[in-house]
Symmetry: C2
Subunit: 227 residues, 2 copies
Amino acid sequence: MPRVMVSSTNNNNTNTPNTTSNNSSSSSSSSDENIVNIYPLSNYYFGSKLPLSFKDETLAERAQRMRTNYAAYGLRTCVEAILVVEMRKHPHLLVCQVKNSFFKLPGGRLRPGESEVEGLKRKLSRKLCADEDGCDTDWEIGECVGMWWRPDFETLMYPYLPTSLRKPKECTKLFLVKLPCSKRFIAPKNLKLLAVPFCEINEKTYGQIISGVPQLVSKFSFNFIED
Amino acid sequence: MPRVMVSSTNNNNTNTPNTTSNNSSSSSSSSDENIVNIYPLSNYYFGSKLPLSFKDETLAERAQRMRTNYAAYGLRTCVEAILVVEMRKHPHLLVCQVKNSFFKLPGGRLRPGESEVEGLKRKLSRKLCADEDGCDTDWEIGECVGMWWRPDFETLMYPYLPTSLRKPKECTKLFLVKLPCSKRFIAPKNLKLLAVPFCEINEKTYGQIISGVPQLVSKFSFNFIED
């Protein structure tokens, strides 16, 4: 079961999603909050937009930038989204492949003073929607299911605060985001959106944060909604 | 930071716990449900009792027993507890070492018709308390933080239902259990209780379920209560 590349690279108006039926089973109708409706990949439209400009910097430059920001604003907080779709009765996680290289969950850094929910909505709209201010930017942000801490600027992250750590430098919070039965995803050309089957998620390819997602959402029962 | 063996092997009345102070900060006083108070390992008393009789069987015999039980009762559900204590400002997980061999979280299989919470309380009392019916058997069972599924009798478990799996054979549910500021743990002699620092939990030694626990509880902030 290969992962599926879902970012089209050069068109915006093919593959319109299949949005028939399902109109009576909205994602909020479940009585049990641990039941999550997920919808077929084919319900979603995937297009592309102009590339995002990423900071082109070395690891050392990045560490220096984080140091400067830490001195100015303190702990850096990132918020990331867990978006799940269904294909062949198996949950698939939407991940971003940055510049044909490493993988990330969609999300990003909060602005100083910004709330987690508002910040995550802003980041998702910027990275996955055509129009950041349009009506296509509604996101149902669910609960925080996990947190990762970076004790220092260059180090790995940990799912707990390492001993005697007084001042962590970065915290990444993962939120389950409930997708509607259909949606248009428009991702920058240098941020490919992939649907990876849970059974193929591994640490070597996807890194520690993504590889832990199946476990983090294991308490939820996915309700596969078929057309 | 080595793991700490906390089951004493032959005495029941030394090491009485330090229960001074803290009486105003009960574990239920937190306004944020994602803040969990944890207490020093030294607050708890660890003693031993007579060994539990484990079924002495081969893997093939175990698979056959599970098959027979599945035919009679259907899906086998296990419930396990995540118990966290503090030492040197670092969270430690309480795990059982079975017969000086492999590691398990405390818990076990539900009886047919038994509720998860009642079943977990029964198992914890049986495995960690002196008197199964005494007043020492109160447990504050928190939320389910993860589920693992066994698709067949001999196979590994997965944190999701593998594709096209119609009839899983076993489900293990992990619950965060909030410990009071002190407690007497009395474990069978063949079920050693160990406190393992989160930073030392790894899959090779502890297996897939235990090794995922730090991530599963990463959304909680541990509030270290000192004397």
